[in-house]
Amino acid sequence: MLHLDYSFLTWPVIQSFVAKGLIFSVQLTLVATIGGIILGTLLAMMRLSGKPWLAVPAAAYVDTLRSIPLLMVILWFFLLIPKLLGPLGGQTSAFITFTLFEATYFSEIMRAGIQSVSRGQVNAGYAMGMTYSQTMKLVVLPQAFRNMLPVLLTQTVILFQDTSLVYAVGEYDLLKGFEVAGKNFNRPVETYLVVAVVYFVICYSLSYLVRQLQKKIAIIR
């Protein structure tokens, strides 16, 4: 059995190596969640619009990105973004990539959410003299968000785990932060164990909160 020594993980080490990575991972998760939900909702509305010139491109975009490994998507975007938009730096590229990719997953959730709102609600909106956009904004989307909130948040937990894949393009995230610390002190085994525990604690607590929220929403409805 190997002797494990965690003494190198002092507060200054965590501050100088890990904190920066954690901040980026959290930032990336927040940006991609907010951006992804907005873009995903638009994509879902395009797919459900019944107009082929809106629905077909949206479906093609969602289905294509969903059938490619996220790692491939990251590498493609890190190649294409500098060519199309000029040099933006790794962090901005990561924000754009994850927003565009996660939007496809959020769009499928929002599509289910919008479809979960009964047809009568839409008709009621029209009967009141509302336009399509008013019906969506005031009647359908608030209910869709509410119905899908637990699923959206679960997807956010998955998204937080997915951010570790920026490893492939060398961005400095939570995983990388620990890895650099572990390499400096030549303690890779302990580091990977600690990384796993940290991710587990964060993701487990978040999914626990989501389950509590789900129970709460289920009672009200």
């Binding site: 490619i68 790692l71 590498l75 937990v157 785990q161 894949l165 990384v195 796993a196």
Partner: protein, 247 residues
């Protein structure tokens, strides 16, 4: 932009063109052969991991619905453990941590086996969740009916619950199976010679990024789609007319 596909026929060591694009003896001598070889790695790792994930995931799903509280708790703990750690971190755990903690395994297990375990156990948690949900959608009466006609609990599972539950969960299992192919790309991080590893190394050697990443992306797409077709075929074959499992 101008694309150049000629390099696929070049020797990976010397960079010179090989006649007919395939070197002698079936070795991976040209870039084309290297890519096909890498595709083989992706497919074998994915299929082995899928097999492991289906077996372990089914067991976990079953024990989570079992009356024994401790078995059910073990199933829950398993699911939470493998669901809440990013796959990449799990790959590093299997590859770097487990062989160091148990030196016996260092000799016994190749890196391929470790990556199959990583991918298989990661997916088993998700499949277990689906199988559990599938069993729970069946009316309680089915379980009681099985027990009432004198079957033991394992017999009830074998002959009454599982045949229906598995049919119900085929669609979500299909998408998990496609996810395995996509997720197998993380194996590049521990230098398994699979598609993404090929793409990164070959594009560095040749500087033909698009010409390498387009076919590789398509190969991932085709592999996942092939699994989708096989699963749809199985779904159609085992469909029971007039049940909730059938369309």
């Amino acid at each position: 932009m101008s694309w150049d596909w000629q390099f696929y026929c070049n020797d990976t060591a010397t960079g010179e063109a090989v006649a007919g694009c395939f070197g002698p003896g079936g070795k991976e001598q040209t870039y084309l052969q290297w890519m096909l070889h890498a595709w083989g790695w992706t497919l074998s790792v994915s299929l082995l991991a899928l097999l492991l994930a289906l077996v372990v995931g089914s067991l976990i799903g079953i024990i989570r619905t079992a009356p024994n509280k401790w078995l059910a708790r073990f199933g829950e703990a398993w699911t939470e453990l493998f669901r809440n750690i990013p796959l990449l971190v799990q790959v590093f755990l299997w590859y770097h941590v487990i062989p160091s903690l148990f030196p016996v395994l260092r000799e016994a297990l190749s890196s391929t086996v470790l990556i199959v375990f990583a991918l298989g156990f990661f997916t088993s948690a998700r499949i277990g969740e689906q199988v559990k949900a599938g069993i729970n959608t069946l009316p309680r009466g089915q379980r009681y009916a099985g027990l009432a006609v004198g079957m033991t609990l394992p017999q009830t599972y074998r002959f009454v619950l599982l045949p229906m539950a598995f049919r119900i969960v085929i669609p979500p299992l299909t998408s998990e199976s496609m996810n395995i192919v996509k997720n197998s790309a993380v194996a590049f991080a521990v230098s398994i010679p699979e598609l993404l590893q090929f793409a990164l190394q070959a594009s560095e050697e040749t500087s033909h990024f698009e010409e390498i990443f387009i076919p590789v992306t398509l190969l991932y797409f085709v592999s996942a789609f092939a699994i989708n077709r096989v699963a749809k075929f199985v779904e159609a074959q085992v469909r029971i007319p007039g049940t909730s499992g059938a369309k």
